[in-house]
Symmetry: C2
Subunit: 632 residues, 2 copies
Amino acid sequence: MKVFDVLFGRPLSSDESHSIQISPAVGIPIFGLDGLTSAAYGPEAAMTLLIPLGFWGVQHYLLPIFGLILTLLTILYFSYRQTIEAYPNGGGSFTVASENLGDKAGLFAAAALMIDYVLTAAVGISAGVTALVSAFQETKYGPQLHQHQLLMCLVILTGIALVNMRGVKETGVVFMLPTILFVGTLLATIGWGVFQALMTHGHPVAHYAPPSPVDNPLHKFAGWLLVYLLLKAFSSGCAAMTGVEAVSNGVTAFKEPRSHNANVTLTVIIGILIILLFGLSYVARAYGVTAMDPNATSYQSVLSIEVSAVFGRQWFYFLTMGSVLAALSFSANTAFADFPRMARAIAGQDYLPHVFLLRGRRLLFSHGIYALTTLTAVILIIFDGVTDRLIPLYAIGAFLAFTLSQAGMVRHWHKTLDAPHRHVKMFVNGLGAVATGITLCVLLFSKFLEGAWVTAILVPLLIAAMMGVKRHYTRVRAETIDPTPLRLTGLAPPIVVIPMAGWDKVTEKAMRFGMLMSPLVKVVHVDSDDADALGKVWEQMVLIPVREHQMALPELVTVRSSYRNILTPLIDYVMELEEEFPGRKIAVLLPELVVRHWWEYLLHGQRVQLLKLLLLLKGNQRIVVVNIPWYL
Amino acid sequence: MKVFDVLFGRPLSSDESHSIQISPAVGIPIFGLDGLTSAAYGPEAAMTLLIPLGFWGVQHYLLPIFGLILTLLTILYFSYRQTIEAYPNGGGSFTVASENLGDKAGLFAAAALMIDYVLTAAVGISAGVTALVSAFQETKYGPQLHQHQLLMCLVILTGIALVNMRGVKETGVVFMLPTILFVGTLLATIGWGVFQALMTHGHPVAHYAPPSPVDNPLHKFAGWLLVYLLLKAFSSGCAAMTGVEAVSNGVTAFKEPRSHNANVTLTVIIGILIILLFGLSYVARAYGVTAMDPNATSYQSVLSIEVSAVFGRQWFYFLTMGSVLAALSFSANTAFADFPRMARAIAGQDYLPHVFLLRGRRLLFSHGIYALTTLTAVILIIFDGVTDRLIPLYAIGAFLAFTLSQAGMVRHWHKTLDAPHRHVKMFVNGLGAVATGITLCVLLFSKFLEGAWVTAILVPLLIAAMMGVKRHYTRVRAETIDPTPLRLTGLAPPIVVIPMAGWDKVTEKAMRFGMLMSPLVKVVHVDSDDADALGKVWEQMVLIPVREHQMALPELVTVRSSYRNILTPLIDYVMELEEEFPGRKIAVLLPELVVRHWWEYLLHGQRVQLLKLLLLLKGNQRIVVVNIPWYL
């Protein structure tokens, strides 16, 4: 137990919930890592799609595409500030959409976000590992690392899950250093790159020449095909925005004043993200960096090419790539911080199993962590730990949730007549809704065949499942609700049934208990061989003492079993009794041997367990099972 | 249920046991296949060891070695005839040894035989498959079959297990044709081979020339090394005798007169076996057949070489090899016929779990069949379905059992003063004991390093396990035996404990039952958040009606849980009650929701199940659990 406490922290009492609340400094690594690290793979995803356009494509289209992405990000920032202020108790998309647009819309957002969080965790971890493999690409360890990509992903997943089992606050502290290193090294790269570019009038000399762009005859293509390609590149770049939802959903994790602290966190995260996205694409353009075909044997990520171009391959390169790896892997943590909270909100409306409502020993919603870990592991295993195949699935869910949440906010301001500047606020959220809605359409259009259709199938399935869960809970509540006081009329002692193989202490204990419960005791002996061996024992051991005490005589019932089966005749007998005495309760007393070691259970039949199960399955409200344990 | 009946036969009533008894004709395939088919691999095993001696070795040593083996077999035959006559209720080694030499000796024989039966099944099946692979060696299917050797073994194992689930008699009928074919084709091969040899004055011309013997410089070696080699070849040949025990153990399977029918069966089996062993080694010598290195790519079994030498590779060759395959695979059946009977005999003395005593729906000892199937599958998987690696482990167990059984018989005749010719009988069994004892020493000496040490480790482990089982049963019996009549003094109603989350129909049902059982009802509410919400409901729903009926008032106990754990405070409360009221029984009533579909269980915590388990583990004789099922 001590080791367990050291690993996972001491259990927290329910009164201590204030002690796990966080400040913005801790909030940035927790809620921001996902958003920030998308700077490491978002541009790459967009640039990979520009490969067919060659060097020329990057020079012409990269900055405009990122300009668009940054504009969208700014709109989102202002929209979500308002959500956080309006929902100081947590304004995740599920809450906002279901409160303002109805349960269906809420479920829609919830399903989309659940898929997205699992993907966030999977994409984060596998992107981190890809970065590591990329860094060691040209060393002798390269091929070996490449082989064990999935294993590394699963190890990191386990690590993150374990850290999260300690608590949100501890997680933030653990992940603060990687966050600082990640942001710091990338800012240094951008700073030095921009400085070099300015000093050389836009033509810096790379320390380590970027691989020459793929020479492709297609690079002159234009018209609708070009538009389609650019839309696709834009969609891929949008992956960089998926972390924005996190803060609004996790407002309750912050110290008071919650909304203020959450908004400070959001501002810092978005500010840094904008600098990183803009800076990295500027430097890429200046140094003539293009993405490489991910299937090429000497494949390197854009970030790796960029950092080696600016600084060369010395210690700083490895520090940068190391912190990118760490930050990317840990970006999965945002999902771990948010998924359990969201699951709690959904379960609170009966749409998910109530187990998600329980706070674990560290006051966390532990079952959410278990569920997310399991689902992420499944996804990683199915996709063999390679990000690229996951990215098309990604972002759809986030933008669906964005759109629903912003639309919900518009409705919120519409209803809240006393809010100051409500028309301005409505406009901001409306702009957010329109912008994210358009992006969602672009995403769906450009990514549908590549995998977005999976989301399109999964979302309705998830919604159906959640509605099924709600139906179940509603039915159970309707069937068990009891508005009337305790009825005490018609209380008749039950008919007691005791199976007996022979006279021993176990049977005696059961009979003492049974005779106490009711004057109507039936001791059933299932007999496959000789019939009357027990009669004499019964007379001597039971009937004589009962007569002496002038109590009601128990009845010995012998049931014949021609097929050596003990259970069926017993259950048949109980069912017959039930028909014979309508309205009477029947208590079946099952003597059960409790042994000291597990292997001893192998030496005793599991008949009692099987009988219990069968009685439960075949029985009804009137049949009650009493376990009479016998300790050896 | 109908399909099940067609597959496994209708269930047999306990009165029908006569209908499953067998005649010698059916007994031969059941108990004889193992012995008879050892003619197919015993000589091969011996000849493989003569490879280093080359052609010359076979010419000089094969017949003497087989002469020795046949002599031993004859001695065993006469010894076992006497055992069968003396033990008409089944004279397996376990029974004979434990009755005459004490339980320890019996366990020794039992452990050895159990290992041996598992090996019999595994060796039989894998030898059959090896024969099949050998037959198709030079066709295009050869390599493919070689790859799927393990799979084929497991398929055959499953088939044999299924046939055996129908019953012993049915098994005999199914396996009669393969037995006749096996014996018939081999006899034809021997007959034609001997005839040809005689016609050509000992120099018959092979239809299909045997592969030339390995040219080995070692073929002149002599002295102790030669003796050792010959001893090893002899030991390997002894595998041909392991099936002899079967008949004596299965006497009860025969129709009356049992002993007579069993002895007829034994005579036929041994007679045919002697002809086959002698004939096959004679033909091998005449045609100059030597064994091939089993690791050679073009490996063929000795039998395959021999049959193609005598008849060439036409239809008869394929018929012969096919029936060898069938017979070998089905020889595993002897283990299936005997192992369950033996397990039953051992379990009858409390040395194995009592589950082996139960007769299944077809009056078989089904659990023995399950156990044997599982163990054989494990062995086949571990050894990847290749016989050769199993043979060194084999035969040791059988000869250990032979020796103990024969020694036991000597003691039996010594005790049975009124037996006619008891000194002659004692001599015959004594000769058997000495001969098998010497063979056992030879086997241990020559095979120890090759794998017999595994048996030497397993046997004591098994004996220890069986003694542990007996100790357990003895203790249980001592602790539960009850020589006194039912005590009816000191019957006090139990203290009833009912956990309650809130007022609903489930709780009401439990309370109605609880108030009926005892005037002392404690309803426990574990509270982690607000303490007094239930108070008002309790007053209105419970106390008022109870006062109206002038019954004893139940008590509402609120237990505070700071760490959100429901189970621990509940169990702590029960334990406190137990200390507070020494000698009183405590009945914990657990309302349990029974849902219609398995997935609905995911929506309800398994707390009740966990609570039951914890109460069972932490509880004692005085704590009783009552399940109050609530059907939705």
